[in-house]
Amino acid sequence: MAYYSKKNKNWLWALAFIFIMLLHFTKILAPIENLAISAINPLASFFYGSGSRIRNSYEENQKQKEIFSRSAELEKEVARLTVENAKFKELEQDNLKLRTQLSFLSTTKYKNVLANVISQNLVFDIKEGDQDIVIDRGSKDGIKEDLGVINENGVIIGKITETRDHLSKVCLTTNRNCKFAATIYNQDRTMGITEGDLGLTVKMNFIPQLEKINLGDTVITSGLGGNIARGLVIGKVSQVNNRSNEIWQDVNIEPLFNLSTLTIVTVLTP
């Protein structure tokens, strides 16, 4: 008898689960869900920021040895860049004057929506190289799928793949399923599609062998991908893989953002 009553109670739990699903999919729960999400967003971004800081310091400890060995090399690079920067500043001044003369009101027609990162993948990536973050702005804030997302330095970090009323999922450029129409800033202005590689770097495949690509070339969005503006930096070429017996070559691109320091991002809306 006890067995039967317990079994019946298990059915009650199954019914309760179905009832909750029903309330969710008929949108009856939607106001409560939206209220809950809005209420916890500040707390969620605080917790994510704290976790992110811990991860950052952990990773920095890991990298410390590597940093020491590279510091001498970087000092030389800094000297070279300082000279280059001075030239660019001059060019920037010229550019500004020209823009003013041409009555440009703004350098971009895109609007921005600032968002806090509140979560990363809740489970380890079952799909190899899948990396996503969740931000606290959604369709009610004007965000829709395929919009570009940049960090505080203006580097594109990914694009929106899914939205809810007050949340959105962003696939990172290092995500294998995240593809961008891109241009390599070389002599030929090579165009192609980038995709993430094992969640660590970005890859551009099927580049004709005749195109000359150098290490350190900047890769930018080409603007052919619909809602994503042209000229957003994806990364720098870190490896060129070309074999003489193959028709195509491919390049590895080092992204210019660090996932552990991403706490605030900007969504570019049209």
Binding site: W13, S50, G51, S119, L122, K127, L167
Partner: protein, 181 residues
């Protein structure tokens, strides 16, 4: 008055378990890989199963699952379902096989709960993502087993801590040993 106390207690549990779910989804998800394996909701639900009745733990499982479903982009209900089934199975094991309520039983139960939880979670996710071209079956992924091992280490560690703490406060979970006479 006692009714009011009852409601107040439940409100308190609601807050605690909601906070646990939010911390899991936001704080722990941002931590480095080894700490990322901490499964706080499952740990708290196991504690609750040992202290409270099964029904109370199942309600808390729904609360935790609801928050995690709100904050994740997997299909709604995934976490509620997995926590409910895990708790039901663990309760079944607790009442039928691991009945002596010793520390060792609880440690085995903790490890089993992690195994059940992960197998359920990844089986459902595998079924969801099986159509995608870069899908690889989780049982053949070394990362899955690595993550599972770390989760087991964390949860048995927490259980050990909790058991000793509870034992120092009450006699309900006092460990005992079978002695030969």
């Amino acid at each position: 008055m006692s009714r009011l106390k009852y409601y107040f207690e439940w409100f308190f549990y609601f807050l605690v378990f909601s906070l646990v779910a939010i911390i899991q989804a936001t704080f722990i998800s941002a931590l480095p890989p080894v700490y990322f394996a901490i499964n706080l909701p499952l740990t708290f639900l196991l504690f609750s199963l040992l202290i409270f009745k099964r029904e109370s733990t199942l309600i808390l499982a729904i609360i935790v699952g609801f928050w995690l479903d709100l904050l994740s982009f997997n299909f709604f209900g995934l976490n509620i379902l997995i926590f409910l089934v895990t708790i039901l199975l663990i309760d079944f094991l607790l009442n039928n096989w691991l009945t002596n309520r010793s520390l060792y039983s609880f440690l085995v139960l903790s490890a089993l709960s992690v195994l059940i939880y992960n197998i359920l979670l990844y089986s459902i996710l595998a079924a969801t993502y099986s159509g995608q071209n870069n899908f690889s079956f989780f049982l053949f992924e070394s990362r899955f087993w690595g993550q599972l091992a770390w989760q087991m280490i964390w949860i048995t560690g927490f259980m050990l801590l909790f058991f000793n703490l509870a034992n120092s406060l009450s006699k309900r979970l006092k460990p005992f040993f079978l002695e030969k006479k």
